[in-house]
Symmetry: C2
Amino acid sequence: MIKTRFTEMFGVKHPIVQGGMQWVGRAELTSAVANAGALGFLTALTQPTPEDLRKEVKRCREMTDQPFGVNLTILPTLVPRPYGEYIDAIIESGVKIVETAGNNPKPFLPKLKNAGIKVIHKCTSVRHGISAEKVGVDAISMDGFECAGHPGEDDIPNLVLLPAAANVINIPMIASGGFGDARGLVAALALGCEGINMGTRFMATQEAPIHDKVKQALVAGDERSTALIFRTMRNTSRVFGNSVAKKAIEMELEGKTIKEIGPLVAGTRGKVVYETGDMEHGIWSAGTVMGIIRDIPTCKALVERIVGEAEEMIRGKLSRAIAA
Amino acid sequence: MIKTRFTEMFGVKHPIVQGGMQWVGRAELTSAVANAGALGFLTALTQPTPEDLRKEVKRCREMTDQPFGVNLTILPTLVPRPYGEYIDAIIESGVKIVETAGNNPKPFLPKLKNAGIKVIHKCTSVRHGISAEKVGVDAISMDGFECAGHPGEDDIPNLVLLPAAANVINIPMIASGGFGDARGLVAALALGCEGINMGTRFMATQEAPIHDKVKQALVAGDERSTALIFRTMRNTSRVFGNSVAKKAIEMELEGKTIKEIGPLVAGTRGKVVYETGDMEHGIWSAGTVMGIIRDIPTCKALVERIVGEAEEMIRGKLSRAIAA
């Protein structure tokens, strides 16, 4: 067992979080993570309507009696989403942990805090972490350049980002981006954090509700198998480096507009990849952590392996190094 | 004290290396690092001729009776350097540790090994690390995307690069790029390495033979104060993000040739920055670790602080986390 300020604050057994993932963060995965003693998050916008989110929370609760949360990512999208109504659905469903990402969560905080909800805000920079602490979130999930999805535009890896943030942020920080095993968990604790967030690593589990071909691709890929799209638009996204991602980058460099590239990279195409295993149908998020993903365990086996090996490393290699 | 396979193999007290730095790796710094119980490296090409390198080794030896090494970076330069003659000078000077960087060290290895010299090769990718182990180097200094100077073109941060490399490399690995304090040292040990290499952090020490204004700039800068030049030429270099670096990137994006940009970024201009403190005279290497550099200690104080705090972290925070 590894206990930190995070496990205490959120009432979970292990300092491991399954981060919000569009189309992947469904009840099957989140309940499996919760049952493994880690903190899972349903992804609100994976559900087409707030009413569907209510049903998904209920479905997840039927599969686990452990705490879990809901991720709400507030980013510019082609079709605007009714964020306020999703917030209402979260509150009414009785969920007590929310992960916000994208825009500053300030407008939604009073409502969430009044409902007794703990808020983890995802940031990609020290300055945004400072702002989030100021507006009153309970914890920060700090996302380095390694991460899948949106790493921001600063390109600062976690080895520097996390301790720089820890120098000025007082609330608990979860380290996110590039984490997948015990080595990363111990590194995160050393760098000033209270736990790790894993996205891509949890996609490569038995319970992740995505096609097996996607999981196999994560195992076969390595640390160089990702691509960064939309760099030139300062809306960078780290995705699996398939032919679609390469085509999108090519179009971007040719000066094509987001409207022209849009149909190629539409999120619904990623959904089809996950459902059908047609790997070149669209883009889908994947992080550099592919470099250390080598199997497709159950969530329980994965979480227990990480925590067990981390304990073993602290008790073994690290303690021996200072005792010699 | 922290003992690892690295401290044993190289006969140094602490698992900390001062990496090769053009114009900075002179006897003043290297001897101070050696006297602090860490492994310092003179930079061969900082010396205009092999004969000057012989004199510099002698000068360093007058300032320390502890082991130190010589870095030899083999990269394309505008003016070719007589690498073979530098190797001869190293061997004849009696130095027993060499750090090679840039090209594959294979051609020079028989000569170095025959002279009883241990070779650390600097790599920026898993595949180059595997090659270096195969050709027979003694240790790898693995350089992540965080680093100053040449990070390669893969952009893989150490959080993923190091454990991915540790999965397939058997000889000791030194973690390089983004390291500057105890948190980084413990993270490096956790990620599968046997010590850390610091460049930029050692520039911000009392003994570094560079102008105080440069040291102050490292303290004042943060993790976002670097710039990557020569990306488009696939010869990326991470430097301090001053006006000269920005101008060079601008020229590069305008399609100017290396011959046109060359005078602006000539290494000798960086030398002038270090000597005069005229911060906009040229480009000079600096890493993202600036984000956690907050003072200008002596080498001894820095090394002892890092090792002391690392021991304290393993004995304290980490051991408590598993005991709770």
